[in-house]
């Protein structure tokens, strides 16, 4: 039986898109949690951290209810923007962003808290706005945290199974990612095909993490 690389490619595409979106979403959330005091902050922190403890199927189940055909919100999205989120790649991205959120936000939050406050203050007294200070002073001084967030989010999305199964199903070429393909092949007793996917996933994950830790140690310490 020929090896079908589509699930692996889809997995890495999903992980890459998710990680990019998480970086854009994670920076403002982590900044807010690190530097601002506001009411309901504990609630915000809890919501961000929920995916850490929640079974992925629970998250997937509620997303399915929220985005399903019978929900007014999803009907509005479908009618106005032709945007369907259940059993589509877009839906997978949305679910993955929520599912991997703490893996981006927590390292960034720790990173923000590790940059000495006095650096930001120096930047303010030199006439630079908060935004300029964020991009030119704070973020460049927390590169290891950014790298950690990127890698953990990517790896966590690659490893996701339950959420994808609930919200994406198993549509070849559209929502069938590697972890589901493995499960599928094992069910069908195609151990060789399962092994191909599993081993490639294992090897790529190992090499990625090894590269990151080496780079981190050599250039940022």
């Amino acid at each position: 039986m020929p090896f079908d690389p589509a699930p692996l490619l889809l997995t890495f595409k999903l992980a890459a898109v998710t990680t990019l979106i998480l970086l854009l979403v994670g920076v403002p959330i982590a900044y807010g949690l690190a530097f601002h005091r506001f009411r309901l902050k504990s609630v915000c922190e809890t919501v961000v951290a929920m995916p850490l403890v929640l079974p992925p199927t629970v998250l997937g189940f509620y997303l399915l209810l929220l985005l399903g055909q019978n929900n007014p919100l999803s009907r509005l999205l479908a009618d106005s923007f032709n945007l369907r989120l259940v059993f589509t790649f877009t839906g997978l991205v949305l679910a993955s962003v929520i599912y991997s959120l703490p893996f981006m936000v927590h390292p960034l939050q720790t990173g923000f808290q590790g940059v000495p406050v006095v650096l930001a203050e120096a930047s303010y007294t030199l006439g630079k706005s908060r935004l300029v200070t964020l991009f030119r002073v704070i973020l460049p001084n927390m590169k290891p945290a950014i790298l950690t967030g990127l890698v953990l989010s990517f790896a966590h999305t690659v490893g996701e199974f339950g959420v994808v199964l609930m919200i994406g199903g198993n549509i070849p070429g559209r929502t069938r990612v590697a972890s589901i393909a493995i499960y599928d092949e094992v069910q069908a007793l195609n151990f060789q095909a399962a092994h191909m996917h599993a081993f490639i996933l294992l090897a790529i994950s190992f090499v990625t993490l090894l590269t990151v830790y080496t780079v981190n140690r050599r250039y940022f310490r």
Binding site: V118, E121, L126
Partner: protein, 291 residues
């Protein structure tokens, strides 16, 4: 002219403390806030820079009002023309010395000024280095140059020399003096180092528990029993050596070591590191042409 009235309740390490100060500083003047740690000196600088909000008061710099709680004015740090040299320098670790200075200026048109600052602070050879590779004294000079790069109306120095050894301290004091002469920036120094106060500042405000308890020239504030000497120098005792019947005391006046003789009685109260006054009453000083 700088007009400052500040009130602020703080909860410090020694319990609650209330800052309540009122200072007037002439344009171009170099003044010192002197006092023990915890007297509120750093908090006053932070309020001037806009990094800490006072409870009440007013800050006026020339015609500009930076803060006035009665009129609801409180400019952000970005809009106050200050240069603040932080106690631990706060250099940007990811930028080189030159980039640290360039960060402070608005446009690209200030290259000549940056070059001049680098030269005045002896940093030309280090311009391409990152702060982590510099010594304490070098970092301090970068911090100083960076604070001046924006051409601030007010320069705030938070114990800039306290972490340095004696030699670097003396050299930096000279550089500070030169920079102040060159730019004439109104400067407020926070210090608990008497030699600095005497050498650098025109006036000193002595603070205790958030209040000004004494102000005036350093001599008025610190030399209680004023001597009516014909000439008088203040310095620091660096060595006490016993000779046959007298003691020879070496005093550092500015950068010059001066020897003076003293009796057993005089020496009893003296220790290395003490601030002393050298003066002559009965004899005229001898003047000799040196150049």
């Amino acid at each position: 002219m700088l007009d400052i009235q500040l009130k602020k309740s703080l909860h410090g390490a020694d319990g609650p403390m209330a800052i309540d100060v009122s200072l007037t500083v002439a344009a171009g003047e170099f003044i010192t806030l002197f006092g023990e740690s915890g007297a509120g000196k750093t908090s006053i600088l932070r309020m001037l820079a806009g990094l800490m909000a006072p409870d009440a008061g007013r800050i006026q710099v020339g015609e500009e009002v930076w803060y006035d709680n009665a009129r609801g004015i409180a400019l952000s740090p970005q809009r106050r023309s200050v240069g603040l040299v932080f106690q631990d320098y706060a250099l940007f670790p990811h930028l080189t010395v030159r980039e640290n200075l360039e960060f402070a200026v608005a446009g690209k048109g200030e290259q000549a000024f940056i070059a001049k600052l680098l030269e005045m602070t002896n940093l030309v050879d280090l311009a391409g280095k990152k702060p982590a590779t510099l010594s304490g004294g070098q970092k301090q000079r970068v911090a100083l140059a960076r604070a001046l790069a924006r051409r601030p109306r007010l320069l705030l120095l938070d114990e800039p020399l306290s972490a340095l050894d004696l030699a670097s301290r003396l050299r930096l004091q000279d550089e500070l003096q030169q920079l102040h002469r060159e730019f004439g920036t109104t400067t407020i120094l926070v210090s608990h180092e008497l030699s600095e106060v005497f050498k650098l500042s025109q006036r000193v405000f002595q603070l205790a528990a958030g209040k000004v308890i004494k102000s005036g020239t350093p001599e008025e504030v610190f030399i209680r029993d004023r001597v009516s000497g014909k000439f008088r120098f203040t310095g620091e005792v660096v060595a006490i050596r016993k000779e046959e019947v007298i003691h020879v005391i070496t005093v550092l006046v500015g950068n010059h070591a001066v020897n003076a003789v003293a009796s057993d009685d005089d020496v009893r109260e003296l220790n290395v590191g003490d601030r002393v006054v050298l003066f002559s009453k009965a004899f005229n000083p001898i003047i000799m042409k040196v150049s």
